[in-house]
């Protein structure tokens, strides 16, 4: 896997083997036998990212330095990338079905840009759809680990370039001129003598009667006119007019609103419904059936389903974590912490332990799936990041052959890891089968918080030994409630286990940890290990999996080390950072954010750095912890607390496809980070989270968001893009925590910092979904 070695230091502005930033490269693909021009790509992105070996570094490279999670996904995607197609229609539009989920991260816009660039077609003539589940794509249809851009960048461009080449050849043949005399621009071909033809007019003529292999040249980055330039989202207009359709907005015949009354503890089961007839007789209710985890209610409106939930009288069986609360989970985590290897001898030592509370994966759109299950077939609509696994599992559950189950991927209202799981689609299928009718199932907001996916509670212990200005060892022991990866990544790892640079019998989660975590510092003997406690919470890999917690702990200790050594935090990092790209973003952030400027007492700056997904980010924030800010009044239920007043995020993404989109992802990651550091967590009590609404689970709100946010995108340092969807969370989390420590003089050790005080009155546990208020007209403005 030499080509997968990763070094952020790579002098990437030099062309590699005549290619790279300056050269054009020749790529292969297929013309597919079809009525109009259709191209498929077999060329694999493996070679796209040649990275030379690292220079010798005082700390041995950790596995992620040579091969990371994105590489694994690239490797897994390789054998099937050939099935990705671009089709040209007679109206001159190009259609590309993205085998990925769009959940707000902007990939449809980025793919449209790639196609527009290589095909010389205006953006509005590129149509991007989300592909249904396609079993033949195997793991190439998994959206996660921020790998979409990395694994699809070359195949998609290749398909578009081949389509363009074929159009040129077709026009040249028609006109009897050499292909070299034909040019393309904005969807029109031009030849000698003022001859022109639109792409649409040649779509049929350019079609191939048989499937054949052809080649084309990709543009070199210096020729780009679309890629690398800021573009707004392709679905912006649909969004601002309310036309963008999410699962709940789809009108599938007969699929009536359906909700579920749920048990009082996580994963509790239904034993009996004690008032079935009364429930069925309620206004607007058409069906009531018992299912594994509740009582499913179908009616004319979701409101009437909520009404019926208030009246459900059921007997519940136990859940999977009934005896657990925050304190019991923390005790189990502490008991499972792996020992440190380096004893504190002859040196000075810092020992620290950090605790990170459970956090909710819930996007704003409540989980929703439509299912129409018939005796011998089924159709599902939902936002799914791994639709193939969903299709397989649901077919098994329903007792149907896989090809009898059709799974449509719908645009999602956010994901943050939630849509890696298809439990909601599976439940909709269960209900539809039992009712014998199509259903539009929505989980309620409260269901999402209490029974939905969570980012598991974890602890991070760090020990550093240092002596005479040198750091001798850095050890980190991350201990987490088990993260559920049962959504396809598991199969990916098993299938490619032999190719991974992590040896031995690592568990699946340990493998992920090894592939995503690495310390960016020259801290001598460095070990970062994960241990998991197998508790049956509904967990998942929230935006950026382990990194936010691991990096936050590390950067807090780095600040403390700097203080012990009498160095300023930025200077200390400059001295110990391993790679130049991180150093460059750090320096830029310090410059733009005016590091070290005079700040009033109770306020401070903080900085955090992180590299992952082949990108480097530094974040500098200013925080205000003065009492008048902490206690600022906000009407209604609200958490205020310290306010991050300013943030500077400097990102080196390798190659930046869309600055506008990248900036958006950085801003979004920052808001997540502020929430994780200061305000948002789940409090587990007796087997269920107390949080039941957005006024309990305090994701960042307008009154918490910084007024001044600046994103700086560094000049390209590579010719391949890196992942961006999750990148900003970890360094911003660390920066906020470090700023808080400097402003208050106390290093926080429990996150979020307000977790110790319950800032709301919990909604009752039953009924599982509370009744809606009726006083909306009293609160107009």
């Amino acid at each position: 896997m030499a080509e997968h070695r990763r070094s952020l230091d790579r002098p990437t502005d030099q062309p590699t083997g005549g290619r790279g930033l300056l050269g054009r490269r020749r790529v292969l693909g297929y013309l597919i036998a079809a009525p109009t021009l259709a191209v498929g790509v077999s060329w694999i992105a493996n070679e796209s990212d040649p990275r030379p070996a690292d220079a010798a570094v005082p700390s041995l490279p950790q596995p992620v330095d040579i091969f990371d999670l994105g590489d694994l996904q690239n490797l897994a995607a390789a054998p099937t990338s050939g099935l990705i197609t671009v089709e040209l229609k007679t109206d001159g539009t190009a259609f590309f079905a993205v085998p990925r989920a769009e959940v707000g991260q902007g990939i449809t816009t980025a793919f449209a840009m790639m196609v527009a660039e290589e095909l010389d077609l205006p953006m509005d003539k590129v149509e991007i759809g989300l592909a249904d589940a396609r079993p033949e794509l195997l793991m190439n249809q998994l959206t996660g680990g921020s790998n979409s851009m990395r694994s699809m960048y070359l195949p998609v461009r290749t398909a578009a370039a081949i389509a363009r080449q074929r159009l040129v050849d077709t026009a040249a043949a028609h006109w009897g001129v050499a292909a070299g005399k034909v040019t393309t621009k904005a969807g029109v071909l031009s030849g000698p003598g003022g001859r022109t033809a639109t792409y649409g007019s040649l779509a049929e003529a350019a079609a191939s009667a048989t499937t054949i292999t052809v080649s084309a040249e990709l543009k070199s980055p210096s020729e780009f006119s679309v890629l690398g330039r800021p573009r707004n989202r392709v679905d912006g207009h649909d969004i601002v007019t309310g036309r963008k359709q999410f699962a709940m907005d789809l009108q599938v015949p007969g699929a009536k609103p359906t909700m579920v009354a749920r048990p009082p503890t996580i994963n509790g089961t239904l034993k009996s419904i004690n008032n079935l007839a009364a429930l069925r007789a309620m206004p607007g209710i058409s069906d009531v059936v018992g299912i594994t985890h509740g009582v499913a209610i179908r009616g004319d409106t979701f409101g009437q389903c909520i009404d019926a939930i208030q009246k459900v009288d059921a007997t519940w069986g136990p859940g999977t974590v009934d005896d657990e609360s925050d304190a019991t989970v923390l005790a189990k985590l502490r008991a499972a912490q792996l020992p440190m290897a380096v004893p504190p001898v002859l040196s000075q030592t810092i020992d620290a332990e950090f605790v990170f509370a459970f956090a909710s994966n819930s996007p704003l759109e409540p989980d929703c799936a439509i299912a129409d299950v018939r005796p011998d077939s089924a159709e599902i609509w939902s936002s799914l990041k791994v639709p193939i696994v969903a299709q397989e599992d649901i077919a098994k559950q329903l007792g149907l052959p896989i090809d009898a189950v059709k799974v449509h991927v719908v645009q999602g209202g956010g994901s943050f890891g939630r849509h890696l799981f298809h439990d909601v689609a599976a439940e909709a299928a269960e209900i539809s089968q039992k009712m014998g009718k199509p259903v539009k199932l929505s989980w309620s907001r409260t269901d999402n918080f209490r029974q939905g996916r969570t980012h598991p509670m974890s602890t991070s212990r760090v020990r550093v030994n240092y002596l005479a200005g040198n750091v001798l060892s850095y050890e980190q022991r991350h201990t987490s409630v088990q993260t559920d990866f049962g959504h396809g990544l598991g199969e990916m790892i098993t299938a490619f286990a032999a190719d991974l640079p992590v040896g031995g019998n690592l568990s699946f989660a340990e493998t992920i940890f090894e592939l995503t975590q690495s310390s960016p510092y020259n801290f001598g003997v460095t070990t970062q290990l994960l241990n998991e406690v197998p508790l049956k919470f509904n967990t998942g890999s929230m935006r950026n999996i382990y990194s936010p917690n691991v990096v936050c702990a590390e950067e807090l200790v780095v600040d403390r080390l700097a203080a012990k050594m009498g160095q300023d935090p930025v200077r200390f990092r400059r001295n110990f950072l391993k790679d130049k790209r991180l150093l460059a973003v750090l320096n830029k952030a310090a410059e733009v954010g005016q590091w070290g400027k005079a700040m009033p007492k109770g306020t401070a700056q903080g900085v955090g750095v992180h590299s992952e997904y082949r990108a480097a980010v530094a974040t500098l924030v200013e925080i205000d912890c003065r009492p008048e800010t902490v206690g600022r009044p906000v009407e209604g239920e609200a958490v205020t607390g310290p306010r991050v007043t300013k943030a500077v995020i400097v990102v080196d993404p390798g190659f930046c496809i869309n600055p506008r989109g990248l900036e958006a992802q950085m801003i979004g990651g920052l808001q997540d980070a502020i929430a994780l550091a200061l305000t948002s967590s789940l409090h587990i009590k007796d087997g269920i989270p107390l949080e039941g609404s957005w006024d309990n689970y305090f994701y960042t709100r307008e009154w918490n968001t910084p007024l001044d946010v600046e994103v700086v995108i560094m000049p390209n340092t590579s010719d391949s893009p890196s992942g961006a969807g999750e990148l900003a969370v970890a360094p911003a989390f660390a920066a906020v925590a470090c700023a808080y420590a400097r402003a208050t003089g106390t290093m926080p050790t429990y996150f979020p910092i307000n977790h110790g005080t319950l800032g709301f009155k919990p909604l009752p546990v039953q009924p599982s979904t509370p009744q809606s208020p009726t006083d909306g007209l009293d609160h107009t403005f």
Binding site: V103, G104, Q105, G106, R233, D235, G236, H237, I239, V240, T241, G242, R243, Q245, F246, M248, P257, P283, D300, T301, F302, G303, Q304, I306, D307, S362, P363, L364, E365, Q411, G413, G414, F416, S442, R445, E635, A664, I667, G669, L670, Q671, S693, W694, D695, Y699, T700, R701, E702, W703, T705, V709, S772, P773, T774, D775, G776, L777, H779, T780, F781
Partner: protein, 160 residues
């Protein structure tokens, strides 16, 4: 089942529904108007925000019987018509600043923003950061920074 009538996006409509059904579901499930989004049905997330007689309100928390025949309900779908254009200046600003990510919260954000600006104008002043801090709409994708820029720009284009 009772019949209810009110003005929806400029048209007088009537709909059969039980009295207590919240307007959000009448709009979405019975009338097929899906711009207002369900985010909580608890009057918290504000993704269902629409206008009643020009003021912002949460459709998830009003029973349909409380809407009178002369009440004018405007959802995101009807917002452009209130200014006689294809897009309301606030929607234009949203596009210009490329605010949306997943987009789920944005219809509610735009409706709340328009009302907030009007509220400030009625008090004879421009929208301030303090006003923006009062907006309770959740954006779980964290687009707040761009929302703030867009509201200020949209306010300017809304005129007096």
């Amino acid at each position: 089942m009772p019949t209810h009538t009110f003005k929806l996006n400029g048209k007088q409509i009537s709909v059969d529904a039980e009295d207590n059904v919240r307007l959000l579901w009448v709009l979405r499930d019975l009338l097929g108007v899906t711009g207002p989004k369900y985010g909580c049905a608890l009057e918290v997330c504000k993704s269902c925000t629409s206008h009643i007689n020009g003021k912002a309100f949460n459709t998830c928390s009003v029973q349909v019987k409380d809407i009178g025949p002369t009440d004018e309900v405007t959802t995101i779908e009807g917002l452009p018509a209130t200014v006689g254009k294809d897009l309301h200046p606030m929607q234009e600003a949203w596009l210009k600043y490329d605010v949306a990510q997943c987009g789920y919260c944005q219809p509610g954000q735009i409706m709340a923003a328009v009302a907030k600006v009007k509220q400030a104008r009625k008090e004879g002043r421009d929208i301030t950061d303090a006003d923006l801090d009062e907006l309770r709409n959740i954006c779980r994708c964290g687009t707040y920074s761009r929302i703030r820029e867009a509201v200020k720009a949209g306010a300017e284009d809304m005129g007096a």
